[in-house]
């Protein structure tokens, strides 16, 4: 098995290499999204379940962190907890890291840098040697870069040497295949490198490790991941096929995987030699037969060398006392609990069985002959990790006997210690940050600095984990005392928390909020910490969550306002040519935010310098990328600076580095997109290089250039656009054939942009573009990818807008009968859009025939249920053709009828939907008989049991009834309606909606065909429908009440409705009151009011309120007509406004409001003043609804009676001795004032002058 796999793998690798060398396309991250191909797994896992690369990520493992057991047992653990929780609706808060891709996770590799020198604060002083200055940072960066280059050179040289060795022939056979990373050649390589590099053992000696960020200057942040280089993190699953010799691999150790702090399995044995493999040949112990180390051999724990703490484990490792105690660690600490004791005994047992076989045992096992003892290869170096040695489980000697364990009351079990002093619950991962809070030290003994730290920690913990009130006060305290705490202590506590790998969205949001508030307070004090903050905040800019991105932008913009441009540039400049693409990417984005915060002009000189950097292409690349990001971020606001931005980046088009050329083109595209449709003159200088570039470039650079051109052409005048389009079209047509998906998408987009500009003629498109376009793009494969599909449809529709329907539809109509369904769907969608846009007048008889034929075929042959593409297409075409479909209608109806009878519900539903779409056209064609026939067929299917289908059938019936009218309808209305009555009981929304619409339609237009008794029956059903959730249904129902009342007279309907007021359910009553008001409106109020007012005499709260509410709605609906009824209802309202019940007064007040607004200016002031006197005493109510209604009633009075009258009511209380009274009166006065300020001038009281102050208004006394 093993050699076979190895062989295939080798072959594949070879093939891939060949492909890579043949194919000049190497993918660029900038162009093709952030996916890093190195991160992909190139082979399929051998085991079914994918082992989590990161032990901490694995939920079960994490939960069981304190238990150890063989892996087989662990796997049997029911892991259903999560799914159960989710299915029950308890969603766990999502960790950010879980949804991040590999690229985004690189944020955790960044280092929170030490604070920097603040030149502003220091003034002329020479900076303290302990703080880092800008120069130092720049030097470090340069050093890093140099190292990287050296490493690359070394790698290159090595490769060359290997190749040379291969060519050497004989020697190559002996040398191990370099790509195969097993430990033999690993150590060999190590040896080689060591020899060359004077024995410096550090991680970048690994043969194919891309050196990450240098470690020497790393401030060890607790949660920080090791710098796993992608190549290391990538796990080659073939390598771990259990070959007999490797069984004892640390991978396979039971405890290794389960120990929380363990380095993820994948990297252990690939990487162990690094740094730790100091050969100390003391005891020749073969690596294979290493004891399955219980202590997760590589776990950095007490005694681990510093290097070990940064093993490229992706696992964040904490300090010793923070890691969940594993037996070994416990053992070092003190007395054991019985569980631990048992665990140890059990481990010991396992170990006994798995201990290395001695030579004697082996001799006893194997026959003496036929076996040979092999020497280990000369290059084999066993691992002798000091860390591992130290941590090897100190097992009790011999099989331990049971001894009564000492009782230890101070022992912590797995239960978290209660946090003292009302602090919120601490999660296990919080211990490393907030653990200190648990030590109940005496606060007085601490130094002031420590006390401050403690205070900050407490507040942060409250913000992070506390209840909302706790959080709020803590946040306020942090903000208020920010300057007192000082920037250093604050950020040193906050920022590591944000780097915590287990952070959740909510927590991050809260912490970011803290930073924002604190920033505001600290202002210029943040300067030394700018870079620190940026390291933490920048990743937010590329988060997939929109709100996180917005938050990130906000923080950075506030930060730049607080720190100033100079500091921001000084902090970010070193990152611009960082060796890590991730850092450069996020820095570019951050810079664009700075630009938008401080203004582009301020940043221009700097950008210019960066974009022209001679030192490194990375700097130029990032500089140009900043311009791109600025364009994306601020959109059309780039226009004033467009020319200078273009000038800054234009030279990048001819840069020697391919990546720089690409990003320049992309930036130009972004600028052109942002400034559209203006600003073409700013792009003059880049036109030539762009158009020249498309001739000389290939692959992704060409794609980027084309993209830029695609965005620039629409800005041009017609003549130029036409000229340049012709120029670029040659290249585009050539690239039509490109196999690259991204290139295809870009080409399609550019074609769309070119074609839609004014200057491009239809004839040119027809002759030059169409043939190739259809030959290359209208193929089945394009329909399979969603984005291709969409882009192709859009482009084709755009072309059709230029060349007309016939050309396009003529070319693709045959494909409606293609055998691939997705392709047919794409054709149909295009035809639908084209025909909807442009109509069907271009389509000749022959094409029309083909089209209908094809559509019928495609409609009938569809199998997939999704989307209504076919249905929409059919409807659009039939509607566009109008009367021309007459000859085909019998055939179409035949199809529909046949499909209405189909077994599949979906098919039936579609057929019914189709009827409702084409009903209007059928009428135009004069096919009333056919429609009548369809009506009967649909009528027969009213027994349909699928609600979705039934709803569609009702919809189709409605469409037919609408078109042919009540009299001609077959089946006759008097037969149809009784069939609908029981359907009204159906609770399905779609059925309800369609049914009520149909019934309402009949009640409106053809009520006379149905006996009154049937309508009464329907009224009862309708009452139930008033409860529907959907507003549309309730509204349709209420309207239907109106129609029915009109048809059969209001008395009976009203009786039903008034009875309904007695029911308990509130919503039902509310809907009934609305219905009563509608009935009153449609049948004139005088038919309803007497009965309604009579109902008020029923001594029942609900009924009386219902009556009042009906009155309120009634006066709202009848408006001016109310003037005839106001005197009739006034006594009733008087009574209601004096009622003890609040709701009475509230509803009556709202009735008064509607009444007043309705009769304003119609001479009913006497009645209104009378009512106002009843309303006014209610102004002191406190219940929100009541006071609201009362205020609104007074507002209504202001409109009807004038502001002066209301002001006079107000004046009594504006200066009342009781504040409570004054408050209320001023509130009323204010709304009066806002509503009618000018009108009050004439009505203000006359104030007497006082000593030095004049209050009188003599002007008003003037008289001619």
């Amino acid at each position: 098995m093993d050699p076979e796999i190895a062989k295939t793998q080798e072959e594949r690798k070879k093939m891939e290499e060949e492909l890579a060398s043949l194919n000049s396309l190497t993918f660029d991250r900038d162009l093709y999204g952030g996916g890093d191909r190195d991160g992909y797994v190139t082979s399929i896992a051998v085991n079914d379940e994918d082992e989590a690369n990161d032990a901490m990520d694995n939920e079960v493992v994490r939960k069981m962190a304190s238990y150890t057991a063989p892996r087989s047992l662990l796997k049997e653990m029911p892991s259903g907890g999560d799914e159960d929780d989710n299915s029950l609706g308890f969603q766990k808060p999502a960790k950010i890291i879980d949804r991040e891709d590999e690229y985004r996770r690189r944020r955790l590799q960044r280092v929170i840098s030490p604070e920097r020198h603040d030149a502003f604060a220091a003034g002329e002083k020479t900076p303290d040697p302990s703080v880092r200055t800008y120069a130092e940072v720049m030097r470090e960066e340069a050093l890093k870069r140099e190292k990287e280059e050296t490493m690359r050179a070394i790698a290159k040289k090595k490769k060359e040497e290997e190749e040379a060795a291969k060519e050497g022939g004989g020697a190559a056979a002996a040398a191990p295949v370099p790509k195969r990373r097993n430990r033999w050649d690993q150590s060999q390589d190590d040896g080689g490198a060591a020899a060359k590099k004077t024995k410096t053992q550090s991680d970048w000696d690994l043969p194919d490790a891309t050196p990450g960020i240098g470690r020497w200057d790393a401030t060890p942040t607790p949660g920080r991941m090791g710098d796993a280089t992608p190549s290391l993190a990538r796990r080659n699953r073939w390598d771990e096929t259990p070959t007999p010799g490797r069984l004892a691999d640390s991978d396979a150790t039971p405890a290794g995987g389960a120990t929380p702090g363990a380095t993820p399995a994948g990297t252990t044995w690939d990487a162990t030699p690094k740094g730790l493999a100091t050969p100390t040949p003391k005891k020749q112990r073969s690596r294979w037969d290493e004891t399955p180390a219980t202590m997760g051999s590589a776990t950095p724990m007490a005694g681990a060398t510093p290097a070990a703490a940064y093993t490229p484990g992706v696992t964040p490792v904490g300090g010793v006392e923070l890691a969940t105690p594993t037996p070994g660690a416990i053992n070092l600490r003190g007395p054991m609990t019985p569980e631990q004791y048992n665990l140890l005994r059990w481990e010991k047992d396992i170990e006994d069985r798995n201990r290395p076989l001695t030579d004697e045992e082996l001799d006893a096992m194997f026959p003496q002959e036929g076996y040979k003892i092999l020497e280990p290869p000369a290059s084999y170096v066993p691992i002798r990790t000091p860390a591992r040695k130290l941590l090897a489980t100190p097992t009790p000697l011999g099989t331990p006997l049971y001894s009564i364990p000492e009782e230890n009351r101070g022992q912590q079990f797995d239960v978290p210690k209660e946090a003292p002093g009302g602090l919120p619950f601490m999660k296990p991962e919080d211990y490393q940050y907030f653990g200190a809070l648990l030590n109940e030290d005496n606060e007085e003994e601490l130094s002031p600095e420590e006390q401050k730290e403690r205070k900050i920690m407490k507040l942060l913990l409250k913000v992070k984990n506390g209840t909302p009130p706790q959080r709020k006060t803590a946040l306020r305290q942090l903000t208020d005392k920010a300057r007192e705490f000082g920037a250093g202590p604050l950020f040193n506590r906050i920022l590591p928390l944000l780097m915590q790998p287990t952070l959740e969205d909510q927590e991050r949001h809260l912490l970011v909020k803290v930073i924002d508030r604190v920033l505001y307070k600290l202002d210029e004090l943040v300067r030394p910490y700018v870079h620190k903050i940026l390291v933490v905040i920048e990743p937010l800019l590329i988060d997939e969550d929109y709100y996180a991105r917005v938050e990130g932008r906000e923080i950075i913009s506030n930060l730049s306002k607080a720190a100033g441009l100079a500091t921001m540039i000084a902090a970010m400049r070193p990152d611009i040519d960082n060796i890590d693409e991730y850092v450069r990417n996020t820095t570019a984005r951050a810079f664009s935010v700075v630009a938008s915060a401080l203004g582009i002009p301020a940043l221009l000189p700097f950008l210019k310098a960066v974009c022209q950097s001679k030192k490194s292409w990375q700097a130029r690349h990032t500089g140009i990328k900043i311009v791109q990001q600025i364009a994306i971020l601020i959109g059309c606001a780039v226009l004033p600076h467009l020319r200078s931005l273009v000038e800054i980046i234009e030279h990048g088009l001819n840069d020697e580095n391919q990546k720089v050329r690409t990003i320049t083109a992309l930036s130009l595209a972004a600028l052109a997109e942002a400034s559209a449709p203006y600003g073409i003159e700013s792009f003059d200088s880049v036109l030539k290089p762009l158009w020249k570039g498309i001739r000389s470039h290939r692959g992704k650079v060409l794609a980027a250039f084309l993209k830029a051109i695609g965005f620039i052409i629409p800005l041009m005048d017609a003549i130029y656009a036409s000229y340049y389009t012709k120029e670029v079209m040659i290249i585009l047509i050539r690239e039509f054939q490109s196999p690259d998906e991204e290139m295809k998408k870009i080409v399609l987009k550019v074609v769309k942009q070119c074609v839609s500009t004014e200057g491009v003629e239809a004839a040119y498109i027809r002759s030059d573009i169409l043939p190739e376009f259809f030959r290359n793009f209208w193929v089945r494969r394009m329909a399979l990818d969603r984005r291709n599909y969409r882009q192709l449809v859009e482009t084709t529709v755009e072309i059709a807008n230029k060349v007309g329907v016939a050309d396009i539809v003529g070319r693709i109509v045959e494909d409606l009968k293609d055998e691939s369904e997705p392709y047919r769907r794409m054709v149909m969608e295009t035809i639908e859009k084209v025909v909807t846009n442009l109509g069907a007048s271009d389509i000749d008889a022959r094409l029309e025939e083909l089209l209908i034929d094809g559509i019928l075929y495609a409609f009938q042959e569809q199998t997939s249920d999704d989307a209504n593409v076919m249905l929409n297409g059919f409807g659009a075409v039939v509607n566009a053709l109008g009367q021309r479909v007459k000859p085909y209608l019998p055939q179409i109806c035949g199809t529909i009828k046949w499909r209405l009878n189909n077994k599949s519900a979906k098919v039936r539903q579609q057929a019914a939907d189709l009827i409702s779409r084409i009903a209007v056209v059928m009428k135009q064609c004069g096919e009333e008989q056919l429609m009548g026939h369809l009506g009967v067929v649909l009528y027969e299917y009213l027994g349909e049991e699928y609600p979705e289908v039934l709803g569609s059938i009702l919809g189709a019936l409605k469409a037919i009834v609408n078109v042919i009218g009540m009299t001609k309808m077959t089946p006759p209305i008097k037969d149809l309606l009784p069939r609908l009555t029981p359907i009204l009981k159906n609770r399905h929304e779609k059925v309800q909606e369609n049914c009520i619409d149909l019934v309402g339609r009949i009640a409106d237009r053809g009520a006379e065909f149905v006996p009154a008794r049937e309508w009464m029956r329907i009224c009862f059903e309708l009452l139930e429908m008033l409860k529907a959730h959907k507003k549309g249904i309730r509204r349709a129902t209420v309207n239907t009440f109106g129609y029915i009342a009109k048809a059969i007279g209001p008395q009976d309907v009203l009786a039903t409705l008034l009875n309904n007021l007695k029911v308990q359910e509130r919503q039902n009553r509310v809907c009934t009151t609305v219905a009563i008001a509608i009935v009153a409106e449609t049948c004139s109020p005088f038919t309803v009011l007497p009965a309604l007012m009579n109902e008020y005499r029923v001594p029942e709260l609900n009924v009386q309120n219902g009556v009042l509410k009906s009155l309120s709605f009634l006066f709202e609906y009848i408006g001016e007509m109310g003037k005839d009824y106001i005197y009739a209802v006034t006594p009733l309202l008087e009574d209601a406004l004096m009622d003890r019940d609040l709701v009475h007064r509230q509803t009556a007040a709202s009735a008064v409001k509607h009444m007043a607004l309705g009769v304003a200016g119609l001479g009913c002031e006497d009645a209104l003043v009378h009512l106002m006197n009843y309303v006014w005493p209610n102004i002191f109510e406190t219940s929100p609804h009541v006071i609201n209604a009362v205020t609104e009633a007074i507002e209504g009075m202001r409109v009807a009676l004038g502001a002066a009258v209301v002001l006079n009511y107000c004046l009594q209380g504006l200066f009342h001795p009781a504040r409570k009274v004054r408050e209320v009166y001023w509130k009323i006065y204010n709304s009066l004032y806002i509503g009618a300020q000018d009108a009050l001038v004439a009505a203000y009281p006359i104030l007497e002058d006082e000593q030095s102050n004049t209050y009188s208004r003599p002007e008003l006394m003037m008289f001619i």
């Binding site: 406190t1182 929100p1184 006071i1187 609201n1188 504006l1214 200066f1215 504040r1219 004054r1222 408050e1223 001023w1226 509130k1227 006065y1229 204010n1230 709304s1231 004032y1233 806002i1234 300020q1237 000018d1238 009050l1240 001038v1241 203000y1244 104030l1247 006082e1250 000593q1251 030095s1252 102050n1253 004049t1254 209050y1255 208004r1257 002007e1259 008003l1260 003037m1262 008289f1263 001619i1264």
Partner: protein, 87 residues
């Protein structure tokens, strides 16, 4: 105030009203209110051309002069604020 009231529109009403210049509150004194009244009046005179013309005829001044005078008076319509009694 109940917890439920804290967030409804009524509680915000006062805040909303306070955004307009010229609205009052329970602690407004006679002087402040009078200033508002005066300013509103002058603004109204200036805003209604017929009223302005009427005053102009009555005072035998040009309309422009009247307008200017009214606008000037809006600065300190009631004179300097009185000394507060409590401090």
């Amino acid at each position: 105030m109940q917890a439920s009231d804290r967030f409804n529109i009524n509680s915000q009403l006062e805040h909303l009203q306070a955004k307009y210049v010229g609205t009052g509150h329970a602690d407004l004194n006679r002087f402040e209110w009078a200033v508002n009244i005066q300013r509103d009046s002058y603004a109204s005179y200036v805003g209604h051309y017929p009223v302005l013309a009427y005053f102009a005829i009555a005072e035998n001044e040009s309309i422009g002069r009247e307008r200017y005078n009214f606008m000037q008076k809006m600065l300190l319509p009631c004179g300097l604020p009185p000394e507060r009694e409590d401090d």
